[in-house]
């Protein structure tokens, strides 16, 4: 499948319509005490694209990820993945439907080996039922396939040499890599990466960027949060900007970069420009 990134035909306004959007969000709000962390009126994520979600610290990006993937419950709103509502769906079911996320604060399974971290991600494992688990022949061949797939992915993510080490021994950057590779074991239709590049060294970054592009070319949809603007520019087909819980801009890198609301949100000069409805 080929995607022409130069001519993305969506309108550059917050909440713009996308033909065949994979994820559609409506009126999702979440507040912590008096603070409204997320307040998204309407948002569509285009299918088969790499979409970046950017915004200053505390903009509500991670909270939005948590809400969409069932790790947190919104106060209001609903959202649909592939046309099916995900409101109130448990996190593990969201993952099974094909929407898999990673965490900003990595969740490496410290006292398990890297390869076991990877194997865990595979879907529909026969040996994960208690009765069939006892009898090895039932799951041994599937386990072999899973291990092969896991090793291929580890190779891709430069972790093959760490295969049998405990995940707790990985560096911060390596944990990011492991978490992304592990998420791919689920074969997700949509991957949601929360700051995948944080702490990854520049040389590896380049190859990771290529991996993310490959994901798109394989027909997956990628939504990622990132503060590194070089990376955002390099691989994003579309960019969504959040500030203070709201989507304040959408567009290509150029559109967004020249948007005064975005500039203000980043520079924090709220006094001069009204960013939205809040006071």
């Amino acid at each position: 499948m080929s995607t022409d990134t130069s001519a993305v035909p969506f309108e550059s306004v917050p909440g713009s319509q996308k033909p065949d959007a994979i994820l559609v969000v409506d009126n999702v709000t979440r507040s912590f005490g008096g603070l409204t962390a997320v307040n998204v009126a309407h948002l569509e994520i285009p299918r088969h694209r790499i979409t970046a979600l950017i915004g200053p610290n505390g903009a509500g990006k991670t909270t939005l990820f948590n809400l969409l993937t069932g790790f947190d419950e919104p106060d209001t709103g609903e959202w649909k993945f592939n046309g099916l509502s995900l409101g109130g769906v448990a996190a593990h079911k969201v993952a099974r439907r094909g929407m898999v996320r990673t965490f900003q604060l990595t969740k490496a399974l410290s006292r398990m080996t890297i390869i076991d971290n990877m194997r865990l991600g595979a879907r529909d494992q026969r040996g994960e039922s208690v009765w069939r688990g006892i009898i090895r022949p039932i799951w041994a061949s599937q386990e072999q396939d899973i291990t092969q797939k896991a090793e291929d992915l580890l190779e891709r993510f430069n972790l093959a040499h760490m295969r049998d080490e405990l995940a707790g021994s990985l560096s911060g950057g390596q944990r990011k890599l492991l978490e992304m590779a592990r998420a791919l074991m689920v074969e997700p239709e949509m991957v949601m990466l929360d700051e995948p590049m944080a702490g990854v060294n520049p040389a590896l970054k380049q190859s990771l960027l290529q991996h993310i592009k490959v994901l798109r070319d394989e027909g997956r949809t990628v939504l990622f949060v990132e503060h590194d603007m070089d990376m955002v520019r390099e691989i994003s087909d579309w960019i969504i900007v959040m500030a203070q819980g709201e989507v304040i801009a959408e567009g290509t890198f150029e559109d967004v970069g020249s948007n005064s609301k975005v500039v203000d949100a980043y520079l924090g000069s709220h006094h001069d420009v009204d960013l939205g409805d809040h006071t």
């Binding site: 593990h92 398990m112 405990l166 998420a183």
Partner: protein, 336 residues
């Protein structure tokens, strides 16, 4: 000092039917805590439920023993479901609080005068072991383990208990090396990570509670079969804490851990106990005990044995924090 008797008695204590009960109860707890990371502080409750599910139907209602054994498993699973549905969706510490409370409620109810007609209250129940005595293939006079006599009934409990323990340990081993066990360990490490990969964390925790609880209940059965009496006092919270000590000694999340841990634990306690008993003993022919009476005498050595045993165990844990079979590498990443 009769070292032959001290040693043979301590060794017997470490492998007896009573020890097997501890091994089973700790194996169940190892499934909960060691593999799944569930902070169950009420394992004694599972053991109590197991013990009384055997003794009440047989003593009070003359049930055939296979039905009572079935009830042991059914009630352990029921208790696991009760604890699971009330607490597993909450934060981890709630399970700890609720399990310790439920275990105490069970013990106090068994002790209560109100239920004496059923449970025998403080005196407990006896006379439920005749089925085991009938099944016993060994002659009544038993055998000698060096200087320690083992009667026929206890020998039968010891042999059948070890067979049972091996079956249970093998099942646990097979389960834990399977992808099912891998999911349990992932929940122990970080349940949100497991969720994000599509694992139904709640269902796995519930299964873990049921399996470990059933094993604990069988342990309770062995305890009362050995004592030939089931009494609420045997299922106090100390039983749970001893089980934690045992799995930490033997190595957490190791199938051999509870077995070796129990042996060390019971051996040390018993060894210290009877050594002190002998060292403070006076006889008409020999009125001066081995240890000076200003330091210790026959009336207070019993308190001291737990102190000495506690020191010995603490030293073991300090010098080998991962336990006997634990993995030193894993110890380094003990995140919780």
């Amino acid at each position: 000092m009769n070292w032959g008797l001290i040693l043979s008695n301590s060794v017997y204590t470490a492998i007896s039917a009573n020890a097997i009960a501890y091994m089973l109860v700790a194996t169940g707890l190892n499934v909960h805590f060691g593999y799944t990371g569930l902070l169950n502080f009420g394992q004694a409750g599972f053991a109590a439920i197991g013990a009384y599910s055997l003794s009440i139907p047989i003593s009070r209602f003359n049930w055939p023993w296979p039905c009572a054994v079935l009830l042991v498993i059914v009630s352990a699973v029921a208790l696991a479901l009760l604890l699971g549905f009330t607490t597993l969706r909450l934060r981890a510490d709630y399970l700890a609080i609720v399990t310790i409370a439920v275990a105490e409620i069970i013990r106090l109810s068994l002790n209560s005068v109100r239920f004496t007609w059923l449970t025998g209250g403080n005196d407990g129940l006896q006379g439920f072991t005749s089925f085991m005595e009938k099944l016993n293939p060994f002659p009544q006079q038993g055998i000698w383990l060096w200087k320690q006599k083992i009667d026929g009934y206890r020998l039968w409990l010891l042999v059948s208990g070890w067979v049972l323990l091996m079956v249970v340990a093998t099942l646990v081993y097979l389960l834990m090396r399977s992808p099912w066990g891998r999911v349990l360990r992932s929940i122990r490490e970080d349940e949100d990570a497991a969720r994000s990969l599509g694992k139904n964390v709640f269902a796995y925790k519930l299964q873990s509670l049921m399996i470990g609880g059933a094993i604990g209940a069988i342990g309770g059965v062995w305890l009362v079969l050995d004592k030939q009496s089931s009494q609420p006092g045997d299922f106090a919270t100390t039983f749970t804490f001893f089980s934690y000590t045992i799995i930490i000694l033997g190595g957490v999340a190791r199938v051999k851990g509870p077995v070796i841990g129990t042996m060390i634990f019971l051996f040390v306690i018993q060894f210290v106990d009877i050594s002190l008993q002998q060292a403070t003993k006076t006889t008409p022919s020999d009125p001066t005990p081995l240890l000076p009476t200003w330091l210790i005498d026959q009336n207070n050595y019993a308190q001291l044995r737990f102190m000495v045993a506690g020191f010995a165990l603490a030293a073991l844990v300090v010098f080998r924090p991962q336990g006997i079979f634990g993995d030193k590498r894993e110890q380094a990443f003990d995140v919780h």
